[in-house]
Symmetry: C2
Subunit: 302 residues, 2 copies
């Protein structure tokens, strides 16, 4: 059994940490400065709370980073500064270029992840929902130490799989998977918002239905999901856009997807908002953003 | 029966013209300066050839414009200059704002399409493939004269339907329909191109299949279709992007889609190209385009 630290458990992080805990590992997290909701989630899955990062890095063999994409490099940097020696697994939804930044910050080889400053780096990507134990979700690993790390972690966890020995491929796979699942949801939300603005939404849905195109149901589901979780997808969409751009593939799909998701508020019931409400919100946002191509950061990404 | 002129029949135009001809109308087109392929298409459906636009506008009651989106305003302008008096139906894949430009050029009311200079303007959008007679395709009309125009044209043509009495809504419906059908195809091509570049395409497809997501087949079909027809979708994607932008909805999805489709050559067998070939082509194009956000016009949009 391994001693594992999880940085910093939100909904996804708590689920993965809980699965590792249930597998028999000793899983810890940093309590100080976290919200009541996060503390409840951590307590529910039986995690061991420690007061600060210094304590955490001193007591674990493996650190798993599961945090909002924009915080990934910063978290790695804090871990390095904290004097961690061991295996660092980044399971965040980040671009391969961001994986390379994390490697640099950790002092690990940018291709293999081999330690040159005491930290072995393994790239990870979570494909699917937060329920690792249910077998629908995979934690995909890559890098030279991916194999041993998977063996160490994978007690009764069929969802932990090794992709290959290069850093970045696990994250690229995660990006590609989310590029379609979340990208198509955002595109569909944009289509319905546009159709609503021109008062042809009903006519559009009628044509989809007549042709056996199931987009109307999918759009309703995308709206409900975006209402609950969209506010935290924007950063992931920016990472996907960066991944596309790094290989010359147009990044506009996911820059636009980031804007669409950023229009949602945290824990919103989007059935109230509707596609017409989404369009009005996007239009109002666009007026503020004139002259500024970058989207605003949502007020609270956590 | 009506006398109808069609400007300028490509694959879609010839199909619509043929359906009108078969319905018993007298359908003409301008022969001069058109390619052998276009002449063959026109002859196949029994169209009456005339030497020039001046002759055409003098002999018809209704003109139907079916041309590449970027030529729509120019065609309307030539018709006005040619002294046409009658009903002008724009069936092109253009943004509502472009419809308003066409109205202005024709000297018609920008909201209703009512003539103030002898030309009554009807907005049209073709939803579905080119086969109007098969019932899968609709020619949707809007504007004050949409009703009488549909009655005039709709002899045995169940696919000609009236949406409402405002210019722009027929085109908005067309834009929304194509925004999803062609937009999702372009997104999927981008996802596979990116995944190929990182050598995770096979791993991505395996995960889709395991989860019952039918994206792999859809991507193969999208690639084949883009090979045959993608070169002429770029202009339509730009019109969709303009439609989104005009209502504050992010336009990046379809700016990116335009770039993806512009990467294909005319009548290309894209199975040869593959997703990796597409990615290399997009990357090479991006290198040329550095510093220039606008995409290049394809060499031949017709």
């Amino acid at each position: 059994m391994a001693t594992i630290g999880v940085l910093h458990p939100g909904a996804m992080g708590a689920a993965v940490a809980g699965a590792l805990q249930q597998a028999g590992h000793d899983v810890s997290w940093v309590v100080t400065g976290r919200s009541d909701a996060t503390r409840r989630r951590a307590a529910d899955v039986g995690l061991h709370g420690v007061p600060d990062l210094a304590t955490l890095v001193g007591r674990v063999d493996v650190l798993v980073s599961i945090c909002p994409p924009h915080a990934a490099v910063e978290v790695a940097s804090a871990v390095r500064s904290g004097g961690f020696q061991g295996c660092y697994l980044d399971a965040n939804a980040i671009a391969p270029a961001t994986v390379a930044e994390v490697a640099e910050v950790l002092g690990a080889d940018p291709v293999s992840g081999t330690a040159s400053a005491g930290i072995t780096f393994v790239d990870g990507g979570i494909v699917g929902g937060p329920d690792l134990a249910a077998g629908r979700t995979e934690l995909v690993l890559s890098g030279e130490a991916a194999g041993p790390t998977a063996e160490l972690l994978a007690v009764d966890q069929p969802g932990i799989v090794v992709l290959d020995d290069r850093l970045g491929t696990a994250s690229a796979l995660k990006m590609a998977f989310a590029a379609w699942s979340k990208g198509r949801a955002a595109l569909l939300l944009g289509v319905r918002a546009m159709a609503s603005a021109f008062d042809v939404d009903e006519a559009l849905v009628a044509r989809w239905e007549r042709r056996g195109i199931d987009a109307a149901n999918e759009a309703d589901q995308a709206l409900a999901t975006a209402g609950r979780k969209g506010w935290r997808f924007a950063g992931e969409m920016e990472e996907i856009a960066a991944t596309f751009a790094s290989r010359g593939v147009p990044d506009g799909f996911h820059r636009a997807a980031a804007e669409v998701f950023a229009a949602f508020a945290r824990d919103e019931d989007a059935r109230q908002l509707g596609f017409d409400g989404l369009q009005r919100r996007l239009a109002a946002h666009g007026e503020h953003a004139v002259g500024s191509p970058a989207i605003d950061e949502p007020p609270d990404r956590r």
